[in-house]
């Protein structure tokens, strides 16, 4: 067994040192009824070649995004990731290290976390960022809980543009945490409607921009109005590349900004692992969930970094912690940081501009398809369209023609009354011929 270094003779020598006759002697504390002498009913060990074949066969039964025209977004975006990123994150010293609890021999991880926090804060326009959450949806749920702690209020208002998976994640957690959730009806362009739902017990309003339908919203007024009523504004971003083009939530007055960071440095991976970004105003830092990396010095006066303010965390505060999170998305954060370091401001702005231009090209193409109605007015790289048929069925048909046409809203909200709405997205990986193929296929589809 290739992963096990002990040889039979090692094993008996070691049992000798221990003073045990057999390995069973070390399992004496296990109740007899539960001890299994024989392996469980599963296949036995296999050669690397055999495992590789079995998994490759499964992989071969999936249609990859890169294989042909592809327009899916809705919270997960296909971007080109420079080869440098994947090379670096596979370095043993990053890949096979643990959480940097011993800073003297973990400066590699700690310094990139500090850089990550700085980049995330800059990107969102916020004051402090943590060292990552599981993903955008769980970050959103934690943000709502944090708002409740900060405001000591019991209600969260969710916009109708918030990604339905995010909304349901918030609802699931809020329910047991005793926070009431008021979720508005789906609306293509209605983030501001959250204001009407604020009452004296509202801890936060949660809006998304670009929202599920691709609509971009200036939240400045929402921020001011919410704060005036004592509620925090939480802004959710599921496509962080947009922040290369769009005014940041921080500039617009958000109190907490959470985001899905996957678009930078991380592949689609069928939904995970992704990387949640969590940022807030500095005054709320002690209420934030997750790890924080901070700057300090060593005994020789050299600059160094450590995990800090951990008196918020479960391993110190236990049932008084701000969150139960422990393992986060370290390596995905590294991928994010590397990709962002490569891009820089110059590259990010240009990448965002390309995405937007591609989406305009897509929108223009779709405008030429009889029966298709463009629903999203102000967008970044994704729009909602109305089709004269069931969108899910249409997507299935086009998949048969090797075109992945986008995400039907019904996939996310099965009973949302938007069965004819389709979300289509374009990024720098979308080509003009992809768009032409979609347009042609749609023309033939109804």
């Amino acid at each position: 067994m290739r992963y096990l270094p002990l040889s039979p003779s090692d094993r008996s020598a070691m049992l000798g040192v221990i003073g045990a006759a057999t390995i069973d002697d070390l399992f004496v504390d296990v109740p007899h009824a539960a001890r299994r002498d024989q392996p469980v009913d599963l296949p036995y060990h296999q050669a690397e070649l055999a495992v590789e074949r079995a998994l490759s066969a499964m992989a071969g039964r999936n249609r990859t995004a890169g294989q042909g025209p592809f327009f899916c977004g809705a919270g997960a975006y296909r971007h080109h990731i420079p080869a440098t990123v994947d090379h670096i994150i596979q370095r043993s010293e990053f890949l096979t290290s643990y959480t940097p609890y011993q800073p003297e021999i973990a400066q590699g991880t700690l310094q990139y976390l500090f850089e990550f926090q700085t980049q995330v804060a800059a990107l969102t326009g916020m004051e402090v960022a943590n060292a990552s959450m599981y993903d955008g949806s769980t970050a959103t749920a934690e943000a709502a809980m944090m708002a409740a702690r900060v405001t000591r209020r019991g209600k969260a208002v969710l916009s109708g543009g918030l990604h339905p998976h995010y909304a349901r994640t918030v609802e699931t957690l809020a329910k047991v945490a005793g926070v009431a959730v008021h979720r508005l009806d789906a609306a293509i362009d209605g983030e501001a409607a959250v204001l009407e739902a604020i009452d004296a017990d509202t801890a936060c309003v949660v809006v998304q921009t670009p929202n599920l339908f691709g609509t971009v919203t200036d939240v400045t007024a929402i921020a001011a109005a919410a704060q005036a009523k004592g509620a925090l504004l939480i802004v959710v971003v599921t496509e962080v590349v947009s922040l290369g083009l769009l005014k940041s939530p921080g500039e617009m007055g958000a109190d907490i900004v959470v985001a899905e960071g996957q678009s930078i440095g991380n592949g689609l991976n069928f939904g995970g692992p992704y990387v949640g970004l969590f940022t807030a105003r500095e005054k709320y830092v002690r209420q934030m969930p997750g790890r924080l990396c901070g700057e300090t010095v060593d005994a020789d006066g050299r600059r160094g970094f450590v995990l800090t303010l951990s008196t918020r965390e479960q391993h110190i505060r236990r049932d008084k912690a701000t969150s139960n999170i422990c393992t986060n998305s370290g390596l995905c954060a590294l991928a994010f940081t590397i990709h962002m370091s490569l891009l820089g401001e110059v590259g990010l702005r240009k990448l965002a501009a390309i995405n937007h231009a591609k989406a305009r090209e897509l929108r223009d193409g779709l405008m030429g398809v009889p029966g298709v109605e463009i629903l999203t007015e102000r967008f970044f790289n994704e729009i909602a369209i109305r089709v004269p048929t069931d969108a899910a069925a249409l997507v299935e048909t086009l998949a048969g023609q090797d075109i992945l046409a986008g995400v039907p809203v019904s996939r996310l909200s099965p009973k949302g009354g938007m069965d004819d709405v389709l979300l289509v997205c374009a990024t720098e990986t979308t080509t003009s011929s992809d768009i032409a193929a979609l347009v042609a296929a749609l023309k033939g589809a109804f």
Partner: protein
């Protein structure tokens, strides 16, 4: 092209280095160890390490929404980027460098086959919301992994989506809560042993339960009498780690389960330590109702400096109906994702996150399981336990083991043996760094004074264990002989010396700011 002295071989004077005689370098260099500034401290505000074509149109349609102020993100050319991160990486310890004996963390070898498989475009370049007909292979993989997990644990169902252990705990407690609520039996409290990992009480509190601690016996197990006393109609669940955080198997686990069930509560098992028993003991046979499995521990997906992980939760028949969405079912030959509260998921307690969980980790874990097989996984548990007991045996003469009798996959010592030396567990740990090893878990579990929790895992060779034990015994000897400076000042040979955590917490600097770029040490 380069050569020494015109090709004539050279011979140095064979004089050993006198430590004090080593000249400090003029530029601050330290041989191969490169100092490295932050990316913000170089002049990269107008640079980029990517080439992109010009966009085909402008963005003026976005008007006022456009970002005009500088963002503050430096760009580095590709060579500079590579060098920056490679230099940083060399300041880390890693499992690929030496033993990483963090108790409770299961730092085992991460096979690169798994990395390769996770990067197959068929897994890595697939969107979570593609039509299900186009992702049958991905769903099959999830289904197969679920089958392995259920078979290895002897449980009825598994919720795949939790993204780490703590998220799994959340999942388990939410299922328990839903099960109670379905019976109209809202309960308010969860019992947690004092030795529990911090995530256990934190999760219970997060889910709205009051946390009640249960005492521990002198031999490091749950105090059944205390448990019995604290059980009652208000108790929703007990959260027990087994093997527990003292590295011991809860001998009375079946009795515990019976007591808990008799009281109408559920038995949540923290499965972080499953590595000790995988393939040898099925938690389902012990009366467990829910248990998370850290794929990033037992099933070798890499820790990645803190994540990502994956924490599927196996569930008993009683809890299975309440599993969150989504999950995979097989209908005829086709795999299907159940994503909403309908059909099989009518009683689902909700959704834990967007999409379907940590696919990248699933691929790695299944690759590992197929490689080891049922026979290999059993051997994993045996070798993990053997290695821990070997360390315990070799060190016990000098260091004080916290409990007598065999341990499971980790050996726990207290700091009793350091009494009177003036050296603390922390000091001892930092001296280990100089010797080339990562310290063990310290000061956890809380029930043991100055705890040192050593988990070698099964992927360590006897030679590496011996090297480790030899060094620990030498250090212990030095500690007892009063060689205090070696410990108090340690580490001396690491990239940095001990860091000032108090300063970091008192004046938090959580991001780089131009105005603060003067030397922090000046304060």
């Amino acid at each position: 092209m380069s050569m020494n002295s015109v090709g004539r071989p050279t011979r140095p004077t064979l004089v050993a280095t006198v430590p004090g005689a080593i000249p400090a370098t003029l530029g601050g260099g330290r041989g191969l160890l490169q100092d490295e500034a932050l990316i913000f401290e170089r002049d990269g505000w107008d640079s980029s390490g990517v080439d992109l074509p010009e966009p085909s149109s402008d963005a003026f349609d976005l008007g006022d929404l456009l970002r005009t102020a500088p963002i503050g993100l430096p760009g580095l050319s590709e060579p500079e980027t590579m060098r920056h991160y490679v230099r940083l990486s060399q300041k880390n310890h890693a499992i690929d460098l030496a033993l990483y004996p963090l108790g409770s963390c299961t730092m085992k070898h991460n096979p690169r086959l798994n990395e390769k498989m996770a990067r197959l475009p068929g897994f890595a370049d697939v969107h979570p919301l593609q039509p299900q007909s186009t992702v049958q292979g991905a769903l099959e993989l999830m289904d197969q992994l679920a089958h392995w997990l259920m078979t290895l644990t002897g449980m009825s169902a598994v919720a795949m989506s939790p993204k780490a252990g703590a998220h799994g705990e959340l999942c388990g407690l939410l299922a328990i809560r839903a099960a109670h609520e379905a019976r109209g039996d809202a309960r308010k409290r969860v019992l947690v042993p004092t030795s529990a990992h911090g995530t256990n009480p934190a999760t219970a509190a997060f889910v709205g339960y009051g946390v009640v601690e249960i005492a521990q016996t002198a031999d490091g197990r749950v105090d059944i009498a205390d448990l019995a006393a604290k059980l009652g109609p208000d108790v929703a669940a007990i959260m027990v780690t087994n093997p527990n955080t003292c590295g011991l198997f809860e001998r009375d686990v079946i009795e515990i389960a019976e007591l808990v069930h008799a009281a109408g509560a559920y038995f949540y098992c923290d499965g972080a330590n499953f590595n000790a028993i995988v393939g040898r003991v099925r938690p389902g046979d012990l009366g467990v109702d829910a248990m998370h499995i850290n794929l990033h521990k037992t099933f070798s997906t890499p820790h990645g400096g803190g994540g990502p992980g994956s924490g599927p939760v196996v569930l008993s028949a009683a809890l299975a109906p309440f599993a969150p969405t989504p999950f995979v079912v097989k209908r005829g030959e086709a795999f299907e994702l159940v994503e909403y509260r309908e059909g099989e998921a009518a009683q689902a307690f909700g959704r834990l996150c967007a999409f379907h969980g940590q696919m990248g980790m699933y691929v790695r874990a299944l690759s590992y399981m197929l490689s080891h097989g049922a026979d290999g996984l059993k051997q994993v548990a045996e070798d993990a336990v053997l290695n821990a007991n070997y360390i315990k045996a070799r060190l016990s003469g000098v260091m004080s083991a916290a409990f007598v009798g065999p341990c499971m996959h980790e050996a726990l010592f207290d700091d009793h043996w350091l009494e009177g030396t003036g050296i603390t567990t922390l000091d001892f740990a930092k001296a280990m760094i100089d010797e080339g090893f990562h310290p063990m878990t310290m000061y956890f579990p809380l029930v043991v004074h100055g705890a040192m929790l050593i988990e070698p895992t099964e992927t360590e060779s006897k030679a590496e264990l011996d090297r480790f034990c030899d060094v620990l015994l030498l250090l212990a000897g030095a500690a007892k002989a009063g060689d205090v400076d070696r410990f108090k000042g340690a580490p001396f040979h690491a990239p940095l010396r001990r860091l000032d955590e108090t300063l970091a917490a008192r004046k938090p600097r959580l991001r780089w700011r131009p105005e603060l770029s003067t030397d922090v040490a000046a304060e």
